[in-house]
């Protein structure tokens, strides 16, 4: 899941910039790697890939600051018993 999201960000959102290497724990937001339209595309991608709906109140820094955080968010949302 992690690699899948990293690949999407790298290929689709980072303007194909191969010079930027991305790790799961990298902060996508403070470095300005992802701007607001890209974030919407990323959320759409996650919704389609994982068959879930990201609610507006879930679109927060805590849930989307890194690929790691996104993966945890998906896991929590898919299996509510983990909460």
């Amino acid at each position: 899941m992690e690699q899948n999201i990293i690949r999407y960000i790298q290929e689709e959102l980072l303007n194909g910039r191969e010079d930027i290497e991305l790790e799961a724990e990298d902060n996508l937001l403070t470095e300005g790697l992802i701007e607001s339209m890209s974030m919407l595309r990323l959320i759409q991608f996650i919704e389609e890939e994982h068959d879930l709906k990201v609610q507006p109140q879930d679109m927060t820094i805590e849930n989307f600051m890194s690929v790691e955080a996104i993966v945890q968010y998906i896991q929590r949302t898919k299996s509510p018993e983990l909460q």
Binding site: D19, T30, E31, I34, E35, M37, S38, M39, I61
Partner: protein
């Protein structure tokens, strides 16, 4: 007396030293701290060899250091040049070269982008804010704390001296640098402070990145009146639910952004759960606000007043329209009237003032007008209309290239661009420039780039190309190629490859037909 932009910081630091000048929601910088850190960095700049009028790049995202950097550069006698960290490295290297920038101020958070930027030759000699670059004189933000916190300027700096250069896209594909002076920047700060009654009790939201002229309200007007400016960190910009929380927590009184940011707040900001009653002005600029979203927002935040601000960055903005009530229908919102110290002309094709109510190009003379384009007297001359006044001196009007009309109520209405320039997500894009880059690709024979109106009333960019040989390229390859050359917002959303273009009777490419075909697909 205040006649340069850093004088605002000096005056506010003297009047209210412990008042917060800039905050990012977590850290704060009082006016006395801003003064000290501005002086320390100004001293470091002089030590790095800065001479009066030298251009210094600011390569950072939204943050307190950006505020310190722009004031320190101007304080030292330099000209600050804000750079878009999201732009492709080639484009940024072009700007560094074009502007002859030898000193760059950045931040460790930009290290990845800096590495990419510095992987090829640049004119840079000094990098302040990150110590990881080889071959450059580097120093960190921490090291600046050791510098002298008071500053004695070795250069006389007058209000007519250049203070900052903001770059825009140019019709030949190369961006143009708009040179503004302390006078044009301060005039902007004074006019906006007066128009919206901004004073030291205000808390201003700075949503725009520093390379966007909308950021001048937070960076210039705030310190002039001694208000507090919240420099919204990038993390919040992308996530409306967190952003609305921040607005509530910070008790902001003045908001200023592109309409898109407000639309996103409206759609994903969970506004019904937030108390926004502190907001007294919601200002927007950059592109038209779809009336349906504006209406929704005005009903959602009934306590605030709303104002539509218009103006090309060449003028630092120049007109305003205070929206009296939520719009009833879907008619575009007027751009209103020119603000103080500003004169407007509306010219027809022949350069004559149009008759009352007729459409023409808007020309602007204002205290906020730029000096000209950086080292392009030819372009500056082309952009200006000169009128001789009674004393025999020249009055300069900027030709905006925007078509306007005065309606029955005496309000100016914006009717679009004269040429091929559009606004997408608040950014200005020259469609001709995108076309020129596409055509420059080795496999591309012809290209057409056009605006695509979207369902949510925003404008996207579409492109169609024909190839020199069948299958010589595909959409993905062309997209990657464009992404190397253009900022993200100028890359077309779709690039269609056609066998051939339809032609008009005279053999010209039938642009309307291509556009109509592709938009309806």
């Amino acid at each position: 007396m205040i006649y340069t932009l850093p004088d605002s910081v000096l005056a506010s630091a003297q009047k209210s030293p412990d008042k917060v000048a800039f905050t990012d929601g977590k850290q704060t910088l009082t006016y006395s701290e801003l003064l000290r850190r501005m002086n320390q960095l100004a001293n470091a700049l002089l030590e790095a060899g800065l001479q009066k009028g030298d251009r210094v790049g600011v390569y950072n995202n939204r943050g307190l250091e950006t505020g310190i950097a722009i004031y320190a550069i101007m304080r030292a006698g330099g000209i600050y040049v804000p750079l878009d960290t999201g732009a492709p490295p080639q484009l940024t290297r072009y700007l560094l070269e074009d502007c002859g920038i030898q000193i760059l101020i950045s931040h460790p958070s930009q290290r990845r982008k800096l590495k990419a930027l510095l992987s090829e030759v640049t004119p840079l000699q000094t990098l302040i804010g990150w110590t990881g670059a080889e071959g450059l004189q580097c120093s960190s933000w921490e090291q600046l704390a050791e510098k002298n916190g008071s500053f004695q300027s070795p250069f006389p700096i007058l209000e007519m001296d250049p203070a900052y250069i903001i770059y825009t896209s140019g019709s030949t594909g190369n961006p143009k640098g708009m040179v503004h002076t302390h006078y044009s920047g301060l005039s902007y700060a004074r006019l906006t402070a007066d128009l919206y009654d901004i004073d030291e009790s205000d808390r201003i939201a700075n949503h725009a990145p520093v390379f966007f002229d909308i950021s001048l309200l937070g960076y210039f007007t705030g310190p002039l009146v001694g208000a507090t400016t919240l420099i919204i960190p990038d993390a919040y910009i992308a996530l409306p639910a967190s952003l609305s929380q921040l607005i509530e927590k910070e008790r902001l009184t003045i908001w200023y952004s592109v309409p898109l940011a407000l639309t996103q707040l409206l759609q994903r900001g969970v506004l019904e759960e937030r108390d926004m009653s502190s907001l007294r002005w919601v200002l927007y600029a950059g592109e038209p606000f779809p009336p349906k979203y504006l209406r929704e927002l005005m009903l959602q935040w009934p306590n605030a007043r709303y104002s539509n601000i218009y103006g090309p960055a060449e003028t630092n903005q120049c007109t305003y329209y205070n929206i009296p009530d939520p719009p009833q229908g879907d008619d575009p919102i007027p751009i209103g009237q020119v603000w103080g110290n500003t004169e407007a002309l509306i010219f027809d094709e022949e350069g004559q003032q149009v008759a009352e109510g007729e459409v023409g190009e808007l020309l602007i003379r204002s205290a906020t007008l730029m000096e000209g384009y950086w080292q392009r007297p030819d372009l500056t001359q082309k952009a200006m209309y000169i009128r001789t006044n009674a004393a025999g001196f020249e009055e300069r009007f900027y030709r905006t290239g925007d078509l306007v009309r005065i309606d029955e109520q005496g309000r100016m209405q914006f009717l679009g661009r004269k040429d091929h320039q559009i606004k997408t997500r608040g950014y200005r894009v020259e469609l001709d420039a995108v076309e020129a880059i596409l055509v420059a690709h080795e496999s591309v024979a012809e290209a057409v780039v056009f605006p695509v109106p979207k369902e949510d009333d925003t404008i996207a960019i579409g492109a169609a190309v024909t190839l020199k040989e069948t299958d010589a390229a595909d959409e993905q390859l062309l997209r990657q190629y464009l992404q190397q050359q253009l900022p993200f917002y100028a890359v077309p959303e779709s690039i269609r490859i056609l066998e051939s273009f339809p032609r008009t009777g005279s053999g010209k490419i039938n642009r309307p037909a291509i556009k109509a075909d592709l938009i309806n697909v």
